[in-house]
Amino acid sequence: MKPPSAIRGLIRRSALVLRAASILVPREKRAEWFREWYAEIWHRIHFLHESNRLSQSAQMALARDCWGSFADAAWLRFDRAKVMQVVREVPCTARFCLWSIGLTLLAVLIGSGFAPTIRTALAPMPYNQPQNLADLSFSGMGIYYPMDNIFNVVPVWEAKSQTTESMAAYSWTPSRLGTPGGPKKIVSARVSSGFFDVLGVKARMGRLFRTGDERDCPTCVVLSNGLWTQTFGGDPGIVGRHILLEDRDRIVIGVLPPKFRFAAHDAAVWNVTTPGGQIFNFADRTGMVLRLHPGVPAESASREFRVLVRKAGSDFGFADFSVDSISHRMRQGMNLFLLFTVITFIGSLALLSRQFFNAGAGTPLRFPGIAKWWAFFAAKTLLLLITCFIFSIEGVRLFFLFSSGAVPAMASAVSTWIFLISNIVALTWSLKDQRRRCRICMRLLTHEAYVGVPGYLFLDYWGTELVCSHGHGMLHMPQMDASWLEVNHWTELDPSWQPLFETEEVNAI
């Protein structure tokens, strides 16, 4: 009998889902399996239609039932006992825990492009004699001033300076670049013509800026190696090519070397400053690079500039400035982050050891068990802290790059907060996870049960008891960790308890 037209489509769609699920069923059982499911669905749809109950919600329920066929088909394909064992047992093991954290770390690494900020910060500086280089930067949220002031101050200060050999100014801003694939958000930097000479950098291709380019070559630009390879496909004829930056025609004169980087936040296009005009920029997006006389500390240059600024008046608004060695600026406090990670790691070991050297901690662990216990905790915590370290730096950088096209100065403060918070969360979790593991096999303890009765003060039970599913032992945890009356108490179970743990529900039908 042909089904009525009203339900013909529904039956056809259901049959399609069943056909897809049947692919999972072993070939020899497939035809019979499909016949059974199809007959049930067919009857169900007819019944609902004839009893006038084929509503929208009934169709949704029917769809859920059809999708359930995938579970049935999967169980025919896979060995249930093995799968159940994997699902119940594996997530509790120490190996699974380490693999999960390891894979998360790998995902963070790959997602961030193998931590370029950290790699860059820890790599040797790509400049000539970097120990003599310093960076003068401004701070002050939202201070907007004519950035020509900083370019104008360079020749004045250079002429009088006792502390520096040479200097150059820079100013960076998010920009729009015309590319073969359409407009692209990038960061562009405007620099004094002597900028690359101060740093002592040579071009990978073509040339970099030289004195006089302000007048002779005002539309000249230099590309970063990343932009050249990724956006222009490493075109060997890039020098002399015209590009559009902020809808203005520019001519490429050179490409920077691959290892070149600067504190100006991933600048992809560098152009030379031109005299005249009033271009405003935020104070924290501008600065100067200084080549100090050998042995002169950055503080001396800072004092010299302070005197100059005092005389100049409010050229830089109310922005404050600081002069730091370029390696310090490029590392952006990375050393502090690393130091904090190490302190957190050592602190976590101390926190955990407090519990195990306590007389009330229960059955003491024997040597191989202790080594395994501490090795697992150390590996887990270290992996977590490294993940937090990379995520807080690279994640914040990527977030700002994708959302606004540039990394603002506040990014380092955001990174610090995320780093601190994620470290606290990771450490708390790691300690809690460790306390809830079997002291023998490192599996997570299960069968959580409250013991005692709700108390008067906190309306909660006295404690929780957990047991190892393999029967190695039992853990009693007081409800209030802060209480000095009780600590976590581990009781190792002897082999006479084993029969109790052999008939697990895994064997149940």
Binding site: M1, R35, E36, Y38, A39, E40, W42, H43, R44, H46, R64, D65, C66, W67, G68, S69, F70, A71, D72, W75, L76, R80, T503, E505, N507, A508, I509
Partner: protein, 104 residues
Amino acid sequence: MTETRKISHTSALILQTIHSGFMYGFDIMEITGLPSGTVYPALRRLEEDALIRGNWEDEKVAGNDRPRRRNYQLSRNGKDALGAALKRYPLLAQLAPEKSGRRQ
């Protein structure tokens, strides 16, 4: 071997439902409220352990008008297992009431 194996609450509920006269997969789902992804795999396991028997409907009964359905009945082992499960889960009988007009 089935004597030594425990029956989960879900399996016991399905056995009780079949015992009550609901023989088809979708009927069992409706009575127990369990989803198809639970009921059918449980039926397969119960059949594999010889606690239930699956049979195709007689061709003469179904005729050419509709596809034949597969029904399930308790085996002798299944009845024993259900008896044991009812001792373990005494409220089970109330969860799956007997189908009206079922032949004893």
